[in-house]
């Protein structure tokens, strides 16, 4: 049968014809989940060999251990009313840490909000985390955003933005810039399976593919977007299957298996940077915690479901692996955890006493320079506060000082 088109196909479609009127099935493509480690922290028989060296493994393990404790303590601090809000990474530590570890430092990170482990892996300090959560004057973000909205230019970690999905096309643009400059680097973009419903997802993936931007789209499919289960979010086979719609390569990986995540992202990074092409990676790991400190999951899911997944702990699995490798000592591990707890507590006590940012910061950074109208608004505000100092305790005393 003659081909449909006899010039170079301007419709950008495959050229095979058919005489059978048949639907392409809605599940024509199902994507398996790549794994390496079993629940006991042993490599499956026939598993891919691990390329992770001891040093990296230890750094990953320490990062996960830190984040687990940090999250617990910060949630407790929120419950005590010491910070206003918090979000845990619980259950997804391996996905986030393993992927971050597979990158180079020059690679850029655009995260959603549940990826503090990636930032910790890069070297963000306990104190830096703490200052942000207390929106004090040492917060890089100058106290402007809610807790957990971290960012660090030095660590190539773009400041978190609450509107979901917006970072996805941004990551494509950033990666395009890296390519133009010949950086041999890539940009990783994390997002939830909920955020993947946003129009910006479609925009970002398509543009990355069309413009050949070395972007790693890392979908954290954790089963829920607040209360909405993935089954009410989409009908396709997760997020990974969408890649084919963009002419993009994809991988699905067990997000509880840090070795698998590490290998998958390493391979994807290599491909992306060498070929100037994006890759979509979907990690499967359950969101074990509540959505945030404002949320109570008992309103929408069974405790039993949670318990099943709690047994499937990414840190525990990797701990067993580390022990078997002889890369970890149990006693030291316990001691380290205790030390982190103590460190977190004392950092917290320090950070909560650090002053709020100076009043000036209310008008800076809107523009590069403070324009006239904002100088005027600031002046008026200052005079007003001086009139009612008791109403604005966080700033009043310090204005008088600097006057």
């Amino acid at each position: 049968m003659a081909k449909l088109l006899n010039v170079d196909n301007p419709n950008n479609t495959s050229k095979n014809d058919t005489l059978n009127l048949e639907f392409v099935d809605e599940h024509a493509l199902a994507i398996p989940t790549f794994k390496m480690l079993d629940d006991n922290g042993e490599l499956y028989k026939d598993a891919q060999a691990s390329s992770m060296d001891k040093e990296t493994a230890i750094r990953i393990y320490e990062t996960m251990r830190f984040i687990r404790v940090f999250d617990e303590r910060m949630l407790a601090a929120q419950r005590q009313g010491r910070v206003s809000f918090y979000m845990q990474c619980l259950g997804e530590e391996a996905a986030v840490t393993g992927s971050a570890a597979a990158l180079e430092d020059k690679d850029m990170i655009f995260a959603q909000y549940r990826e503090q482990a990636a930032l910790a892996y890069r070297g963000f300090t306990l104190e830096q985390f703490m200052h942000q959560n207390f929106s004090n004057e040492k917060d890089f973000g100058k106290g402007r955003q809610m807790p957990i909205h971290y960012g660090s230019k030095g660590l190539n970690y773009s400041t978190i933005s609450s509107p979901l999905g917006t970072q996805i096309p941004q990551a494509a643009g950033y990666a395009y810039g890296q390519k133009l400059k010949g950086d041999k680097a890539c940009t990783i973009c994390y997002f939830g399976e909920g955020a993947a419903s946003e129009g910006d997802f479609h925009a970002g993936l398509n543009m990355a593919a069309v413009h050949s931007a070395p972007t790693l789209f890392f979908a954290r499919n954790n089963g829920y977007a607040i209360s909405t289960p993935a089954s009410e979010q989409f009908k396709g086979d997760g997020i990974a299957v969408r890649a084919v719609g963009y002419g993009m390569k994809a991988l699905r990986v067990d997000g509880v298996d840090v070795l698998a995540v590490y290998e998958a992202v390493k391979k994807a990074r290599e491909f992306a940077v060498e070929n100037n092409a994006p890759v979509l990676i979907e990690s499967i790991a359950y969101r074990l915690a509540a959505h945030s400190s404002s949320d109570d999951p008992t309103g929408y899911r069974e405790k039993e479901e949670e318990e099943t997944f709690r047994a499937n702990c990414p840190i525990e699995r990797f701990r067993r692996y580390m022990l078997k490798q002889g890369w970890l000592d149990e006693a030291e591990d316990e001691a380290a955890k205790e030390k982190i707890k103590a460190d977190v507590l004392s950092a917290l006590k320090v950070a909560e006493k650090v002053a709020k940012p100076a009043l000036e910061e209310i008008v800076t950074d809107v523009y590069e320079d403070v324009p006239l109208h904002l100088q005027k608004q600031y002046e008026q505000l200052k005079q007003h506060i001086l009139k009612y100092p008791e109403a604005y305790p966080a700033t009043a005393s310090r204005i008088e000082e600097t006057k």
């Binding site: 206003s84 402007r144 509107p163 209360s227 009410e232 309103g299 608004q377 505000l381 009139k387 700033t395």
Partner: protein
């Protein structure tokens, strides 16, 4: 009458409308089984079923696109946008589609059956993205009605009227007052007319104007001013678009002075529209410049929220400035 907070009042208005309209649909992120992150739609899915009360995927432009289609089809569509800060991905669907649906088709089609509910405003430690008051963006768009309740009673009556209106409405819910505003609210149905401002307190020396949660700031400031012997007339605009020029200008003609207060940044806010119109309508009656007490022209900050807000003290100072002009 029952004691209700604003969430319960809203829930009640929704339940009544859904009983009256057998196909009315409530939908949005997390509004289904869970009843919404603020629980405004709590219990509705149980009562009316999953076909009529449902979670949507996380896509505001889709929620509004879907809602436009559903309303055009003749179903009462009641989407929720989880926070007004997240309404912007739907901006095109609202501004280019919802607002222009009837006009562009010569009234062949309309989406008068659409009521968008969304919590807005600050004062809850929400920072940049859980505090915005975006009414001015929509007030510049002919074809939309914008409604703001100031308390539980108003919320139920205004929402019921919005649900009956044959024009698309954005119903802005002051989330700071969701649980804080408790009052007597009839259990049955009642409506409060759209497009009519309400004189909340009569006065003679100066007119104070606001909408939504900001009315509370006026009340506190007026109380302070009354101790100085200043008699304030307080107006709740209630409908920001199209707004009740008549009630406001009559009051200003009487008092000769006007303070308008809004949560949003000063520049290009709706207070500016009011000032522009009233200086024209009441030029010869104005004894001092119209004062606008607003948020600063910056994004909404967290640590400096108190300093940023157009609070009662700032309103009070504006009253004095105006009186002493």
């Amino acid at each position: 009458m029952a004691k209700m907070n604003m969430l319960q009042a809203i829930n009640s208005a929704l339940a009544i409308a859904m009983e009256e309209n057998e196909n009315a649909c409530v939908f949005g992120e997390d509004v289904g089984a869970f009843g919404g992150v603020f629980r405004a739609t709590s219990g509705l899915q149980e009562k009316f079923g999953k076909d009529r009360v449902f979670n949507t995927p996380l896509v505001e432009q889709g929620i509004l696109g879907f809602a436009n289609g559903l309303a055009a089809q003749g179903t009462l569509a009641i989407p929720e946008i989880q926070f007004a800060d997240y309404i912007f991905p739907a901006f095109d669907q609202i501004v280019n589609e919802t607002a222009k649906f009837r006009f562009r088709s010569g009234n062949e089609f309309n989406v008068g059956n659409l009521v968008i509910r969304t919590p807005y405003g600050g004062g809850i430690h929400g920072g940049l993205y859980h505090s915005q008051s975006p009414e001015a963006y929509f007030a510049h768009t002919p074809g939309l009605k914008l409604v703001f309740p100031r308390n539980a009673y108003q919320a139920k009556g205004l929402l019921a009227a919005s649900l009956e209106s044959n024009d698309p409405v954005i119903f802005f819910e002051p989330k700071r007052l969701y649980r804080a505003s408790v009052g007597d609210v009839p259990e049955g149905k009642y409506t409060i007319p759209l497009g009519k401002a309400e004189i909340v307190q009569q006065g003679t020396d100066i007119t104070l104007l606001a909408w939504g949660a900001q009315v509370e700031m006026l009340e506190k400031a007026a109380e302070m001013a009354s101790k100085d012997g200043i008699s304030c007339e307080i107006i709740d605009l209630r409908t920001v678009a199209p707004w009740d020029v008549e009630t406001v200008s009559q009051s200003v003609i009487k008092t000769g002075r006007l303070v308008v207060s809004q949560e949003a940044p000063l520049t290009g806010g709706f207070a500016s529209e009011i000032a522009a119109t009233i200086q024209d309508e009441c030029f010869l009656h104005l004894e001092s410049p119209i004062e606008r007490v607003c948020g600063l022209d910056t994004p909404y900050p967290l640590a400096h929220e108190k300093e940023y807000m157009a609070d009662h003290l700032k309103v009070y100072e504006a009253i004095k400035r105006s009186i002493n002009y």
